[in-house]
C-alpha cells in the first residue's frame, strides 16, 4: 500500500469523524436504533486507528493528555488548522 500524505490522511480522518458526528447526533435522539449504533461503533474503531497512525507520523491531534508526544513537545508545532485549512 502506498503511504498516504499528511493531507490525504487528514482528509480521511475528516470523513470518518464527520460520519461519527452525524451518527452521534442521530443516536442522541434514537438511542435504541441498533443499526445506527453498529455503524457508529465501526466508524469509531476505524477513526481511532487512523488517528493513531496520523499521530505516530505527525504528532498529537488532541491536547491535554489525549495523545503522547515525542521529544521535544510536538503540540506547539506548525501548522495550525487555519493555516493549512485542514
Amino acid at each position: 500500500m502506498v503511504d498516504m500524505t499528511r493531507e490525504e490522511l487528514k482528509r480521511k480522518i475528516q470523513k470518518l469523524e464527520f460520519a461519527a458526528v452525524e451518527l452521534n447526533l442521530y443516536l442522541d435522539n434514537h438511542p435504541n436504533e441498533q443499526k445506527a449504533l453498529v455503524d457508529y461503533n465501526n466508524i469509531s474503531k476505524d477513526l481511532c486507528a487512523l488517528k493513531k497512525e496520523y499521530e505516530s507520523k505527525y504528532g498529537p491531534l488532541c491536547n491535554f493528555g489525549n495523545a503522547p508526544s515525542a521529544y521535544p513537545w510536538q503540540w506547539v508545532n506548525e501548522p495550525w488548522p487555519w493555516e493549512t485549512g485542514e
Partner: protein
C-alpha cells in the same frame, strides 16, 4: 431565494396531533451515504439530503 422549500406535506397524514405545538417527523434510519459524499454535502443520511435549489451552486 428560498432553496429549502421543495414540497408541501400531505395534510391528510397530520391528524390527531395536539394543537399549538410544533412537530418535526421522526427520521427513520435507512443507512448512510458514502463517506466521501457525506462530508462534501454536510449530511450523512440519504433521507435528510435535501438538495440545494440553485444548480450552479450545488
Amino acid at each position: 431565494m428560498y432553496p429549502y422549500y421543495r414540497s408541501t406535506p400531505d395534510k391528510s397524514k397530520v391528524i390527531n396531533l395536539m394543537l399549538a405545538r410544533a412537530y418535526v417527523p421522526d427520521q427513520p434510519y435507512i443507512g448512510i451515504l458514502p463517506l466521501d459524499e457525506a462530508l462534501k454535502k454536510g449530511v450523512l443520511f440519504p433521507n435528510l439530503d435535501i438538495p440545494y435549489a440553485i444548480k450552479s451552486k450545488e
